[in-house]
């Protein structure tokens, strides 16, 4: 016994409606006979039989709509006796497909909603994929970084800067238990960070440069006087006067004490970044915080503490990122002049050459006097030469009146 199934007449035919049986039970069937007429979406189609045999019984009635592969009638093939009907594989297939529908109704699962919740709790940080992967590899905390990329996104250069800062921390949270094992900054990453910052500066900041020669006789005389009464360890260096004089000059030129972030943001605190050259090459620029509020003695103390620590590559990250303006000073026996590259996002850098004796006109007479060539590099997006010039004039005044410092 076999079943005659609703035939498939096209990939787009899913079901058919039996309109009329063309053969009756008991009829002899020969291949090619039309057994029924079936209504499909394309119209009425005559259904042909491909097997010889006898129509045993109908399994569906006229008017029934059944899917392709459903049994329509039972046939007794030629030469066979009555047997139990075979189950047709197609029939099994159509039954097997039912539980699938049940499963699909059960969607939105609990796990997916809880996942959604956690992802909402994590604050979204805008960061380039490259910067993120570098940060992850080096364990950098992204929340502390200010981005300099498009729309404030953190980019590679920002992470590298943070790496230098992080490496400088004597004891981060994770090292608190064993302070003695404070990480030292790898020389290589200092080079990379300096390279990144300086390249960016050169790329992005339109620099302008001003230079002023400042007579140092008054300042040097004052220093000699003060130092004479002090122990060697407490003596002041000329650079302290430079730092203090710069900090004070910024009172009248606050626009040079700021950062550029889609516009100039003038800073209230005067934190002077002081360039320290490392013996193995590279630079670190720790900040002397609130330099305008500190006395020369206090500044000297800070330097005495800071310089050895910097050279040992053990600085705190805040010391490396807090500066609002930078000073670079070549000290003794260096070049006469230095023109700095602004450390982004700052907007100015002041360069002091070595103090040298030069022939100068003083009160209408030619005289040999100690002088320093001071340069100012300013970010032309933030300020212009007039501000810079005013600042250098103020600086000069301050250095002519060391007592007032």
């Amino acid at each position: 016994m076999t079943d005659f199934l609703m035939p498939s007449l096209g990939a787009d035919m899913e079901a058919g409606t039996l309109v009329q049986w063309k053969k009756k039970p008991g009829d002899q069937l020969t291949p090619g006979d039309i057994i029924a007429e079936v209504e499909t979406q394309k119209g009425l189609i005559e259904i042909e039989i491909f097997e010889a045999g006898i129509l045993e019984s109908y399994l569906i009635e006229e008017g029934d709509k059944v899917p392709v592969g459903s049994p329509m009638a039972r046939l007794r093939p030629e030469g066979s006796s009555k047997k139990t009907p075979e189950t047709h594989p197609i029939q099994e297939k159509s039954q097997a497909s039912k539980p699938l529908a049940a499963i699909s109704e059960k969607t939105p699962s609990e796990s997916s909603s809880s996942q959604k919740k956690t992802s909402e709790e994590i604050p979204r940080i805008k960061i380039s994929p490259l910067a993120r992967s570098i940060a992850e590899k080096n364990g950098i905390d992204l929340s502390s970084i200010t981005g300099s990329g498009e729309g404030g996104a953190i980019i590679k250069a920002d992470v590298e800067k943070a790496m230098v800062a992080k490496a400088g921390e004597p004891a981060g949270k994770e090292t608190r238990e064993a302070p003695s094992t404070a990480k030292t900054i790898p020389q290589e990453s200092i080079r990379t960070a300096v390279a990144a910052a300086m390249s960016r500066s050169n790329r992005e900041i339109p620099h302008y440069y001003l230079e002023k020669r400042i007579d140092m006789l008054a300042a040097m005389t004052w220093l000699q006087e003060v130092n004479r009464q002090r122990k060697i360890s407490e003596r002041l260096l000329p650079v302290v006067l430079f730092i203090k004089a710069v900090a004070k000059a910024l009172e009248s030129s606050p626009e040079l004490n700021g950062i550029w972030d889609n516009g100039l943001q003038i800073q209230n605190q005067v934190n002077i970044g002081f360039v320290i050259s490392l013996r193995a090459g590279g630079l670190l620029v720790p900040a002397i915080r609130d330099a305008d509020l500190k006395s020369p003695e206090e500044i000297m103390a800070v330097l005495n503490e800071l310089i050895p620590r910097a050279r040992a590559l053990k600085l705190r990250s805040s010391e490396l990122s807090d500066s609002t303006i930078t000073i670079t000073s070549l000290g003794e026996n260096g070049a006469d002049k230095v023109f700095g590259v602004i450390y982004p996002p700052q907007v100015a850098i002041v360069g002091f050459g070595s103090i040298i004796n030069e022939a100068v006109v003083h009160e209408g007479m030619l005289a040999i006097r100690p002088v320093v060539h001071v340069s100012l590099a300013g970010d032309h997006r933030a300020t212009d030469g007039l501000s810079g010039s005013r600042f250098l004039e103020a600086l000069n005044n301050n250095l002519q009146n060391p007592n007032a410092l």
């Binding site: 380039s128 994929p129 490259l130 910067a131 498009e150 729309g151 980019i155 590679k156 050169n202 790329r203």
Partner: protein, 328 residues
């Protein structure tokens, strides 16, 4: 050291065709006005006199017919170079190209090769208005089974046809009408173009400008201007638009970490769309800035020169886009 030779893009194309005809008797050129007229853009001028009517065949205006015949001839052992005068008429034989050239090998289970070469001139720049200024490289590059190449330089104008004819599969070559009179120096023995590889036309470290066709010289000019501003741009000529040489631009982006994609075709669903997707898929963690695209404005190309110029990326646009990416 090989000698340099000054040559126009047109002369380079012609030299390539002439070489192919001399090399192999099975090669013949057929297309509208390729013979007596000398080619609509004078690319095949005087070739009829040199090679005769059997090798340089003028055909009637029936793109489906003669492109199909070229495909048929290649099935039966010839090496036809079929010229479709301009890509603007390239939609007429699209059925032949898609349903026959690109499909027969697969549909026959690997039995039938279609080694036909179809050349089309392409692009805007001559004030020819909306029906004659098409950049349809993306349409053709969409189709598996085709090799789609773009002639962005004089070297390739000279060296691409030879390799295309050696390929056992159908090759569509896009040439650029607006570059025909452009002169450049190429090495006399520059050799044949590898049409499976993109080419780094300028090395740089700050950003990868990825382009093809007319975009190549524009990008090189922009890169030159940018270098004066301290920006070192790498310029990649995709050259083969299908199958894309992904390795080349992924390697470049992995080095520069930034990419600007430039082409004249309408920006939506163009070659850059695909390149951008591949960068996301393969070099996402190398990116330090979002990938940016400069494509054609999404308008039928207008007639007036200033509007025509405004409808595709120009050197300044490339320059500005790069600066914007690097100095946000």
């Amino acid at each position: 050291m090989s000698e340099l030779k000054k040559i126009t893009y047109r002369e380079a194309l012609k030299a390539g065709i002439r070489e192919a005809l001399l090399n192999d008797d099975r090669v013949f050129l057929m297309g509208e006005d390729v013979g007596r007229y000398g080619g609509a853009f004078a690319v095949s001028k005087s070739l009829l006199e040199e090679f005769g009517e059997d090798r340089i065949m003028d055909v009637p205006l029936s793109e489906s017919g003669f492109v199909g015949a070229g495909i048929g001839a290649s099935l039966a052992g010839m090496k036809p170079i079929v010229e479709v005068m301009t890509v603007n008429f390239g939609l007429l034989p699209m059925d032949q190209i898609v349903n026959n050239a690109a499909t027969l090998l697969h549909m026959s289970g690997g039995q039938l090769n279609v080694p036909v070469v179809i050349r089309m001139s392409c692009g805007i720049g001559k004030q020819l208005a909306a029906q004659h200024s098409h950049s349809w490289e993306p349409l053709f590059a969409h189709i598996p089974g085709l090799v789609v190449v773009s002639v962005g330089t004089h070297e390739d104008a000279r060296g691409m046809l030879h390799t295309a004819l050696e390929h056992p599969d159908p090759v569509i070559i896009f040439e650029y009408t607006s570059m025909l009179n452009l002169e450049a120096e190429i090495q006399i023995d520059a050799g044949h173009t590898d049409i499976s590889r993109a080419k780094v036309r300028r090395e740089g470290k700050d950003i990868s400008i990825i382009t093809y066709g007319i975009g190549v010289y524009k990008a090189l000019e922009a890169a030159k201007r940018l270098s004066e501003q301290g920006i070192d741009a790498e310029v990649i000529d995709l050259r083969v638009l299908r199958p894309l040489d992904e390795d080349c631009f992924i390697k470049s982006v992995s080095k520069t970490h930034r990419a600007l994609l430039v082409e004249e075709a309408w920006a939506s669903v163009n070659i850059s769309s695909e390149v951008s997707a591949r960068i996301m898929e393969n070099a996402f963690y190398e990116l330090d800035a979002p990938v940016k695209r400069l494509g054609g404005s999404e308008v039928p190309i207008p007639y007036p020169l200033h509007l025509e110029n405004a409808s595709v990326p120009q050197v300044e646009d490339i320059e500005n886009a790069v600066i914007k990416i690097l100095r946000p």
